[in-house]
């Protein structure tokens, strides 16, 4: 019976993954408490507040990031089912979303074009390497799509993934401030713009504000992923 050996390896990995998931949960709980203490301020972004001490812990204890990601991978995988849950607020706000199809379409096209073009132009103007610029282009879409796009246009998928995360945190932290400064008060517009520019981390923030914003952000995230994945590689081929 060889399955005993298999089981030993299996449990070893499960324990290690479980340990790191608990560590993540611990720091997430603290991040939430800090955010609560700051009255839900978007400046206290839970992803930032929780990942920074974990990074510090890994560095301090000289632990390989890959060991941590034994558990991390499980959570990243669970992001899928959690995101599928978007169907529930989408169903509940279906008529709201359906009546905003035209503003959504215009906002999607404008927002995704500005997200890609401005990143590429600024990176280029400031002298970033070609690989960096190509990895910056898909920064506003969700991680798996951004990695695929970066690969298709000659960037580094893993670098693109890092840019996606940083973009999401920037959007989640400063979104409300930007919208207020520019008089964007419609909860639907705020949510949708958040989803277009800052994908899932922006959506997580939008849901902390209200369900309508969160729903529109989720719709924007899904649509932007599809549109960017379909159009960006074609545009890139046409212009380079």
């Amino acid at each position: 019976m060889s399955d005993i050996g298999i089981q030993l390896i299996y449990w070893d990995r499960v324990l290690e993954a479980g340990f790191w998931i608990l560590v993540t949960l611990f720091f997430y709980y603290f991040a939430l408490r800090i955010q609560q203490a700051l009255h839900g301020s978007p400046l206290a972004n839970p992803v930032l507040l929780a990942s920074a001490p974990i990074i510090g812990l890994l560095w301090g204890a000289d632990i390989w990031v890959g060991d941590y990601q034994q558990g991390g991978q499980a959570l990243i995988w669970l992001l899928g089912p959690a995101t599928v849950g978007l169907a529930v607020p989408l169903y509940r706000n279906f008529s709201r979303v359906r009546s905003a199809l035209v503003p959504m379409a215009v906002s999607l096209v404008v927002g995704s074009a500005v997200a890609v073009l401005s990143a590429v132009l600024i990176g280029d103007a400031m002298g970033a390497s070609v690989e960096t610029i190509r990895s910056l282009a898909p920064k506003s879409v969700t991680t798996p799509i951004a990695m695929g796009i970066a690969d298709a246009i000659g960037g580094y998928p893993s670098l693109a993934a890092a840019f996606v995360i940083v973009t999401g945190i920037i959007g989640a932290v400063f979104g409300a401030m930007i919208f207020n400064a520019f008089g964007i008060r419609d909860a639907r517009a705020r949510g949708f713009a958040m989803g277009v520019a800052a994908h899932g981390i922006g959506t997580a923030r939008a849901f902390q504000e209200d369900e309508v914003s969160g729903t529109f952000s989720g719709v924007a995230m899904a649509l932007n992923g599809i549109v960017t994945a379909l159009i960006l590689p074609l545009l890139w081929l046409a212009f380079s």
Partner: protein, 125 residues
């Protein structure tokens, strides 16, 4: 105990929709993420059912409220690229900040502008 079972069932449903979506995307080699197809599958189910079962609502809302949690490992993963980032640090910082702000402003304005335009056309309804 029964309510726990129902919540577990609701979670299993979300997982099943996600896996089904990923399989469809993989099988048909569609250029969209499987999870987006998973959302559409669940949405179609809810439209057919014409209501959201309470345990599903509870589970989905809980997970969406804590969506940030699932992004933490990705946040930790960013350090892996610190060395790659070093050479282009300032262009990257500038591009990420400015571009994210510009995209939010552009998308927000576009939405609000078109929405108001349509409302005026529709006689203020």
């Amino acid at each position: 105990m029964r309510s726990f079972f129902r919540l577990a069932l609701a979670f299993a449903l979300l997982v099943a929709c996600d896996i089904a979506g990923r399989l469809i995307v993989w099988g048909l080699s569609l250029p969209v993420p499987g999870t987006v197809v998973g959302i559409l599958i669940l949405l179609a189910g809810l439209v057919a059912l014409r209501r959201v079962p309470a345990p599903l609502k509870e589970t989905a809302e809980f997970l969406l409220a804590h969506l940030n949690f699932f992004y933490i490992p990705a946040g930790v993963g960013v350090i892996g690229y610190a060395a790659l980032l070093a050479g282009d640090l300032w262009p990257i910082v500038a591009a990420l900040f400015a571009s994210t702000f510009l995209a939010m402003i552009a998308a927000g304005f576009a939405f609000q502008f078109v929405s108001r335009l349509m409302r005026e056309k529709g006689g203020g309804a």
